[in-house]
């Protein structure tokens, strides 16, 4: 079953396209990472999926329904981000009890254990929490709700690294025990990469790729060597990144579709072959120009 189906989905704000012609599907019980730079349209996309915002054109189905104004989607979905508005006069404990009323799969035991583990106090107010603590609390709500679709929009904003690690581990354990469809958005891949099954990479509102993490890891290959040799090898291939170091050495991240023998020969010709870390690859893919920041300073 497909939990999410988007077809040529667009969202226009005034004259700008926040999202353009997005088409993808997300299957049941997968953890998908939504990766893109700040302002790439991640949050807009997620809010459309959550039913908060209208689509402009195209089609969007969540749990086989248009999510906007759908009670079915709302009751089977939870959207967590650091902007979550919670009543100011409820204590954290009261908020957990309120959440319990809304979500039929809610696990109070889990919520309370996490609550204690991250050393929250019953009578604290959501408004008095620091940014990191607030994100942590929201994340607890998100995990304990056990919704069929869990959307986490930059869930770790403000968390320190040990809390982040704990959170990811908690997320994974929860997922193993109670598989569900999870979408995590982030501008960084490396932290969550191992957690993910699929990656959805967007750039300026457009879908760049939707692949499994493993495919992404094998998608590109890094070659380093004499500039002219490199130039010859990569002819006709898609180059994601190119950088010239020293007098005559070039590094390229290039699409990995070389036959083994060719690589073997390249090695024999003094080309260093390496794999491209997915994180770097995402940066290359989402860069506005091929050369990255260097192009700005390149006045020739």
């Amino acid at each position: 079953m497909n939990v999410i189906e988007c077809k040529e989905l667009s969202k226009v704000y005034g004259n700008t396209n926040a999202i353009e012609d997005l088409s993808f599907t997300i299957e049941e019980n997968k953890i998908t990472g939504l990766i893109g730079r700040n302002g790439a349209g991640k949050t807009t996309l997620l809010k459309i999926l959550a039913g908060y915002l209208h689509k402009s054109t195209g089609e969007v189905n969540v749990l086989t329904e248009d999510p906007f104004n759908s009670l079915k989607v709302s009751s089977n979905m939870i959207f967590i981000d650091d902007q979550m508005t919670l009543p100011e006069s409820l204590t954290l404990l009261e908020i957990l009890h309120s959440a319990k009323m809304f979500y039929k799969n809610w696990d109070m035991d889990l919520a309370l254990r996490l609550f204690r583990y991250f050393s929250f106090h019953d009578n604290q107010l959501h408004g008095s929490l620091s940014k990191g603590m607030r994100s942590t609390f929201n994340a607890i709500v998100g995990l304990s709700a056990r919704c069929k679709l869990t959307i986490l929009d930059e869930p770790t904003t403000g968390m320190d690294s040990s809390v982040r690690k704990d959170f990811y581990r908690a997320l994974l354990k929860e997922y193993i025990d109670h598989p569900r469809t999870i979408i995590i958005s982030s501008h960084l891949l490396n932290e969550i990469e191992d957690l993910l099954e699929d990656v959805l990479l967007i750039k300026e509102g457009n879908l760049l790729l939707h692949k499994s993490v493993d495919e992404l890891k094998e998608m590109a290959i890094g070659l380093k060597g004499k500039s002219n040799v490199i130039k010859e090898i990569i002819q006709g291939k898609e180059v994601f990144y190119r950088n010239t170091v020293g007098k005559d050495t070039t590094y390229v991240a290039v699409e990995n579709s070389f036959p083994n023998e060719l690589l073997q020969r390249a090695k024999e010709n003094g080309i260093e072959i390496s794999s491209v870390p997915t994180d770097d690859l995402c940066v290359y893919l989402t860069n506005r120009t091929k050369g990255g920041i260097d192009d700005v300073f390149n006045r020739n």
Binding site: Y168, L172, Y175, I176, D194, L195, D214, Q264
Partner: protein
């Protein structure tokens, strides 16, 4: 962590290699049940789908076999298959690398053989 997840090799391959090593060192014996995808995911803090992929590599290579509803088990020929594979692929690749590096450093053929012989002798003495 047993597996260095920052390694640029795909994780499922790292998992497969780690399990092979475990089988070679007899931590898992023939017909013994190996970790499930969920156990692996928990242990290594990775997505269960990735873990499953790692296991499937070993099933494809007939190192593991599936029993429906029970999990995956070490096949009788597991060790042999691994050894052969490592000899054919890993060792071959390493030799390849060695030869290439030797060429780059202008080491002659007999010099290279000599170095290998010395290394083997030293290990024998150590044991």
């Amino acid at each position: 962590m047993i597996i260095k997840l920052t390694d640029s090799k795909p994780i499922y391959i790292q998992i497969a290699e780690w399990l092979e090593t475990e089988i070679l060192s007899e931590n898992f014996k023939t017909d013994e049940k190996i970790y499930s995808q969920y156990q692996l995911a928990e242990m290594l803090n990775i997505n269960p789908a990735t873990a499953a992929k790692g296991l499937n590599v070993l099933v494809d290579e007939k190192i593991l076999y599936k029993k429906r509803g029970l999990g995956m088990f070490v096949s009788i020929d597991a060790k042999e298959i691994i050894l052969t594979k490592r000899k054919n692929e890993t060792l071959k690749n390493m030799v390849n690398e060695l030869v290439l590096e030797a060429e780059r450093l202008h080491v002659r053929e007999d010099e290279l053989f000599q170095m290998i012989k010395t290394t083997i002798k030293q290990r024998e003495e150590d044991v």
